[in-house]
Symmetry: C2
Subunit: 199 residues, 2 copies
Amino acid sequence: MSSPSISSRQFELIEAAGKILSKSGVGGLTIKNLAKEMGFAESAVYRHFDSKEAVVVAMLDYLAKNIEERLRQVIRPQKNPGENLKAVFQNHLAFFAGHPHFVVAVFSDGLMEESEKINAAILRIMQVNQNHLLPLVSQGQQQGLFTDAIPAEDLTHILMGAFRLQMFKWRVAQFQFDISEKGEHLISNLLKIMQPCKN
Amino acid sequence: MSSPSISSRQFELIEAAGKILSKSGVGGLTIKNLAKEMGFAESAVYRHFDSKEAVVVAMLDYLAKNIEERLRQVIRPQKNPGENLKAVFQNHLAFFAGHPHFVVAVFSDGLMEESEKINAAILRIMQVNQNHLLPLVSQGQQQGLFTDAIPAEDLTHILMGAFRLQMFKWRVAQFQFDISEKGEHLISNLLKIMQPCKN
DNA sequence: AAAAAGTTAGTGAATATTCACTAGCTTTAT
DNA sequence: ATAAAGCTAGTGAATATTCACTAACTTTTT
């Protein structure tokens, strides 16, 4: 809920943690590796975070806030829902293309083991997306731009699922292919499949 | 590729590993816990498997083979693709409802850390699904039952993505809600959205 | 001067794995 | 038939390594 407003050093640690995640996966994210990436001793990490859990939660919360801001900026009420939806996904695509490590963070459940706080943080991120996507889908349906064959919530679920799977494939492929290209392709596919039957 | 045909004891170990996964998550799957679940010493595990990695790979390969068999049985060429698709997802649903731990196994990447073999085994499972789903979608399109607004591969991607996300939500909710109900709902939604425009 | 941020050098707990050894069953040799 | 040899599946102890985390001291910043 609250925004503890992280220090610049904390932000560097978050970035370093992200870099490790994308390079070595969840298992590689240890205090030792984090300290090495930062170029100082393990114990120094604890000057900035109480625990490893706190590092991960801070990272996820930063990501949530980042998404929140980006979505707020990119969605323009004067535009039509289709264009907004497109813009939202493109924005996500551009962000993840530049910060692949966050893909590991969001789509990883190895992170949440045992930790209720991390679990909650991941759910928060999903909620942020849901909260911005759902109104767009809903509006699109009301304006007759999207099919109303199924409820807006369920349509949103399908959108998010397809997007998540694309990200997962990118990650498993070790970020080797061009996610922007594949992503654009997916977006246009999703918009096509959302079209209502009668024009 | 090959099928090493596991022993009965190995099968028991795989089952025990699954039970641990669903109870304690990926982090709980240790040799110690596995041995405890089996009721014998840690070292005895190594009579049956060379390593922990081998246990996990065996479990995933068993799952792949299991899916393969189920899909082969459930898909009937004489039925129409829509019904077959429905049957496939229902079959998956029923299986996962009875073996929730495998959801953890397939959708978890905590498992695949560093291990190339485990990574490959997970991809194999996804391939099995793809291999059976794609022909159904393709046939449906050819018969005019499904929309051909987008290629069969991409439609399959969307189906799998939506299904995966549903499973993920179930898992994050700690298997608390009725996956069959939600799953049925999703299936009917997917079929609706796949309908071609002109009847 | 004092607070903030770093260091070295540890802690205990957990991890997967290996070791030498054994009870009980089955196969083989005499 | 029976003794010898081998096999299967266990045991408990010990291994090295890694983990998150801490105490006490020193450097740097303000």
